[in-house]
């Protein structure tokens, strides 16, 4: 086991959407409600909260653990403490990406967003279908405005699109 970071829980709590970590009572209702925890052992929201509270920074932020959550918000609705476990997951992910932990599938979406204003762009098949149905081309995005916002929030640097 690596060394413990006593500040880690507070780093999560001080990241937007992370406050809920402070109120976690380790009841496990999140795990009992979780559709991913039902099918794989690696994902266990209660345990991830516990590791965060204990200060296991590196174990939480550097592997696959932050990325198994579907963001379905079932745990959010069922948490007896007001439901911020599912929200804390976003805070943990925001911290993980700042340590270079971004799954490829998400990076591809983010780069597409920067380049086109969309996380996915139409396939050839979809364009043919749109033509057949008379829907025309996909609606035009104002990409310049999107890029202005992404530069302003430094999102461009986060996803290797910085100039």
């Amino acid at each position: 086991m690596s060394s413990l970071d006593v500040n880690f829980m507070h780093d999560v709590a001080n990241t937007p959407r992370g406050r809920g970590i402070l109120t976690c009572i380790q009841c496990g209702r999140c795990t009992g409600s979780c559709p991913v925890a039902r099918v794989i052992d690696q994902h266990n929201p209660r345990k991830l909260m516990e590791m965060t509270i204990l200060g296991l920074r590196s174990e939480v932020l550097h592997g696959r653990l932050p990325w198994y959550c579907l963001s379905c918000f079932t745990c959010l609705d069922r948490c007896p403490q007001g439901g911020d476990v599912g929200e804390s997951m976003f805070a943990i992910r925001n911290l993980a990406v700042r340590e270079g932990n971004i799954p490829r599938g998400i990076l591809v979406q983010a780069q597409s967003l920067f380049d086109t204003g969309r996380v996915v762009t139409p396939t050839r098949m979809a364009l043919i279908q749109r033509g057949k149905y008379g829907l025309g081309k996909e609606p035009k995005v104002e990409v310049e405005a999107v890029q202005k916002i992404l530069r302003r929030t430094s999102f461009d640097k986060l996803i290797n699109r910085g100039s």
Binding site: V39, T74, V120, E142, F155
Partner: protein
């Protein structure tokens, strides 16, 4: 009733069927869809996972476009609905966050004022148009087609920004029943399709979808009806993935709710639309024709 029509990314890019059926159904029910010029991605969970301020600013830009149009947003995708509704609710309630987001938006000449609402297609049909009017529009009812609805997560969750999980699901049940089909109960009805993990951890996405499909098969449903394009792709194309990797075959046709309603109104699907479904619609079309 007029709405700012928010299409998002996935529907134009992967599911033109969904958009086409909504555009066919809308005039029949007095829904006027007005295009949102220049609108961008809603900033779904993948983008929210990367950066908080980016999420709120991108979602808020779309909200500002609708505010300038003076119209509530109608959105078809559960992910778009979640992102736009959560942002709209948060920015209306929290002045500090609103000011911070408006500071970013000033770079693109916009300001969030909090003047509109965000509605799903199901909200609009059930609350604004009303069940009676939907029922009256049905000319060719499905006689007893057994439907497993997939409400998806963010039609109803988190409950703090909705009426409550089961009320939202009941609204969809009632709309399906209005077409003459029957929405039936099944295990894990309220659960996620697994779609958010597709393209990230495919093997986990398939296992979550399989759990859902097992429950649907046991219920004896003839088909699945979705409201979210992610759920649609995951449960339709996902069946092919599951057949390949988990050696399980379901053959459950998957329809967009807009397609079900459209057929019940009496506007047939074109061959191209039928052919785009990965699991053939044969069973549904036979029941529709009374065979």
């Amino acid at each position: 009733m007029r709405y700012a029509f928010f299409l998002g990314c996935l529907i134009p890019a992967r599911e033109p069927n969904y958009e086409n059926s909504v555009r066919k159904v809308a005039p029949e029910l007095g829904i006027d869809l007005v295009e949102m010029k220049g609108a961008n991605c809603c900033a779904p969970f993948s983008i929210q996972s990367l950066d908080y301020a980016t999420w709120l600013a991108l979602a808020a830009r779309n909200l500002c476009i609708a505010e300038e149009m003076g119209l509530d947003i109608l959105t078809l995708c559960n992910d778009c609905y979640e992102s736009l509704l959560m942002t709209n609710t948060l920015l209306k309630e929290d002045k500090e966050t609103r000011d911070a987001v408006n500071e970013i938006l000033s770079d693109v000449g916009l300001e969030f004022k909090g003047k509109i609402d965000v509605k799903s297609f199901i909200d609009v049909l059930h609350e604004d148009i009303g069940l009676e009017k939907v029922k009256n529009s049905v000319k060719e009812p499905f006689n007893g087609l057994k439907v497993a609805v997939q409400p998806g997560c963010h039609l109803t969750k988190p409950k703090r920004i909705h009426f409550g999980e089961w009320m939202g699901i009941s609204a969809l049940d009632e709309l399906v029943d209005a077409t003459g089909a029957k929405s039936i109960a099944y295990e894990w009805k309220e659960a996620c399709c697994g779609g958010p993990l597709r393209g990230i951890y495919d093997e986990v996405a398939s296992q979550v979808a399989k759990q859902k499909l097992d429950g649907i098969r046991s219920s004896g449903a003839d088909c699945i009806v979705t409201v979210c394009p992610f759920c649609h792709i995951e449960l339709d194309m996902g069946q092919l993935e599951i057949k390949r990797h988990l050696k399980e075959e379901y053959n459950l046709p998957v329809l967009h709710f807009a397609e079900l309603l459209r057929m019940a109104i009496g506007i047939e699907l074109e061959d191209w639309e039928i052919g785009a479904h990965r699991v053939p619609l044969t069973k549904v079309l036979k029941i529709k024709e009374g065979k």
